[in-house]
Symmetry: D2
Subunit: 116 residues, 4 copies
Amino acid sequence: MHQSSHTDSAMQACIETCTRCHQVCLQTAMNHCLETGGKHVEAEHFRLMMNCAEICQTSANFQLSSSRFQHRLHEVCAEICEACASDCKEIGDMDECVEACQACADSCRKMISAQH
Amino acid sequence: MHQSSHTDSAMQACIETCTRCHQVCLQTAMNHCLETGGKHVEAEHFRLMMNCAEICQTSANFQLSSSRFQHRLHEVCAEICEACASDCKEIGDMDECVEACQACADSCRKMISAQH
Amino acid sequence: MHQSSHTDSAMQACIETCTRCHQVCLQTAMNHCLETGGKHVEAEHFRLMMNCAEICQTSANFQLSSSRFQHRLHEVCAEICEACASDCKEIGDMDECVEACQACADSCRKMISAQH
Amino acid sequence: MHQSSHTDSAMQACIETCTRCHQVCLQTAMNHCLETGGKHVEAEHFRLMMNCAEICQTSANFQLSSSRFQHRLHEVCAEICEACASDCKEIGDMDECVEACQACADSCRKMISAQH
């Protein structure tokens, strides 16, 4: 049902990094950010965390369903994850989130370039 | 495909109130609450707003897919909407949210009692 | 909290067309398509219906949360809705779905061009 | 932010089983079931697979956000997972799905009993 087992294992790895990024962003926003307050609940930052969590979930779901539009999701997901990683780095004290967002962006970019 | 047109129109009305409650809670949390700050971004309140938005979305999706578990979702959705309406009333300045949550709880309760 | 009331009413209209397209695609796939069978449950068609339902939900949620990435979602959403409208037209007997997908694609395209 | 590290690790484990069940149900429905056809795309079975995928996602999200309603989700999630496991067992050739649904139901039930 897929082109090759290589494609399968690469996609499975990308599903895992998207899923981890969804989990880390949502859990961090709804616990660490809300409980710490201050710049952590500043509107632009908090929205970005929640948008990043949601696009990662959607990107994982598109891959799980073998969508022919999964590469369009990889692009948007990579872009939002990079913005979120950069925002979290600037705020500081959010290393787990920075790492999860960067890993997810890398993994999505790798899927896009593997397609060409 | 359903038991009766009465069932259909009642379910369609409930899908609409669940959808409206999802929209109002998410839009209010991510705009009014984040921009007003203070007690509006207090962890317990904000979580409840986001949980209410998500359960309403799931409840609408279960009805749209004619799930045989839709009444289980109606129960949980009604309970969370009532908690959210009460929390928003206490905080004040959230009339649209109170109204949308109460309408959704009422509509879910009506679906449960119609089943018996 | 937004640039203008014009922006607000245009976005609110787009949230409604995305929400309607999500509802029509999900409800049609999980009822009409599953119950009719045949080409309606052919893998590529059914996946497209479900992907269309999900991206419309995500696009609505990004607008509800005033995401600065909402125009990226408008692009992907318009593209998937157009593919779904075209697929449904070819299969036939899916007028409501064709109409909802085209309205959603138009509404997303209008939001993108209004931005420039 | 949580009562104890024991609670934390139990919840983290439950988040993982819910996430795995979401992934397995969605991936199986959108690939194996759609490509195999026959009883695999029979309306009641397919809806159950999709409903199971969605409630597991919602249950994981409620735990990730430390929702005080997470035990209500555990109950509904366990119930739907048990129905899905039983349905998949009857259809046959769905061992991975049966195992993922049973593990998720067990994990949700454990969280409920730990609360009392």
